[in-house]
Symmetry: C2
Subunit: 203 residues, 2 copies
DNA sequence: ACCTGAACACCGTTCAAGT
DNA sequence: ACCTGAACACCGTTCAAGT
């Protein structure tokens, strides 16, 4: 029996690179994320990363894909409890989304920038769509319960996520004109939901 | 009479740098924007830019400030006609905002990134606020005409701009799931406006 | 299969010097 | 006041070579 699948000098460099890259991103921004610096930290030669990622952008894409996967898990947990009424679930989802972005600001910036490129790999686009799929899901369930007006759940969900995403983009340091996002998020959700309620008093 | 205020080797390098930088940004993205490359194009030494901007970030900030100023002018033109009804004006404003971002995508990315930094200069933050001031303005006028429900105009405007900003961020290549922003923008505006109309049938 | 080291063509920034 | 040139400490990527 030969030695197990233990690579040459490191453990599994690909995984270590992604972890170190994310740490570097959170602490020093995209500026501090350098293949050579990563190599130094992991004690390998400065060309080793190119064995696992064909270039720097490929590593960034890998980081973005994992980011979307974790975002998806976070949103999934937020909408888990099916017993609640629609507006409560949507607010939980919105808070989870904004919270994730606040916690991983640099990573989220990278995620959307990576997704925007025309040459973005299919895997990345799919990871993004999976992460956002929890929105349409609860809208569809809300419609099934008669809590939400008819319409394409994906489009209804888009309005909410767009508003949240824009709120984050426009705000500075988690605030807009001194008002915390914790306060603005439910306010915005409430305002948008009004336009999505089924017409109980048709005339 | 001595020679007029004609600088040493160039015309006015500061202005030329900003123009060349914006051109480089639009054509090659932030990647292609390099002090040394700019210097080469303008035929000056590679350290000349540092005479006018203390470092690269200062030049990027300058670019962002001008970007916000031009955005403000664009939005100002969009809301000029006071005779129209509120919803038409808001839709024009929204289209102008999305159009500007579509036309100057890389610049807009830079603008918001620059504004997000904790060390962003005061001048930049003020330019940003001025650009967005046209939103609250038409909301206030809409309220004066009885077309919009009561509430802080800045907060009402925020909901709309956040939704637009997020729509741009979430979409890829000007589309979301194959649907053009030209279609989605008025749809979103219409959906949000519903929640802002004054209660004509109070009970 | 995986890693290394020299080499190449770039960067931003500093600093003493020039006109 | 404005610009230059050498120098420093970095980059990403290629490529022949090693185990």
């Amino acid at each position: 029996m030969t030695a197990p699948a233990r690579p040459y000098h490191h453990g599994n460099l690909r995984e270590s690179l992604l972890q170190a890259a994310e740490k570097a991103l959170e602490s020093g921004g995209i500026q501090g994320l350098t293949l050579r610096q990563l190599s130094r930290e992991l004690g390998v030669s400065h060309t080793s990363p190119l064995r696992h990622f064909s270039n720097k952008q490929a590593l960034l894409d890998g980081l973005a894909i994992r980011g979307f996967e974790r975002l998806g898990e976070t949103l999934s947990r937020a909408v888990k409890h099916r017993g609640q009424e629609f507006s409560a679930r949507l607010t939980r989802l919105a808070r989870a989304y904004v919270g994730f972005q606040a916690k991983h600001a640099a990573l989220c910036g990278l995620m959307f920038e990576a997704k925007h490129r025309p040459e973005a790999p299919r895997e990345l686009l799919e990871a993004g769509e999976r992460a956002f799929s929890h929105g349409p899901a609860i809208f569809a369930e809300g419609q099934a319960n008669g809590e939400v007006a008819a319409g394409d759940p994906a489009r209804l969900s888009l309005v909410v996520f767009a508003a949240l995403q824009g709120l984050i983009a426009i705000s500075t340091n988690g605030k807009f004109k001194g008002v915390s996002l914790d306060i603005l998020v439910p306010e915005i959700i409430a305002r948008i939901i009004v336009g999505m309620q089924p017409c109980s008093d048709e005339r």
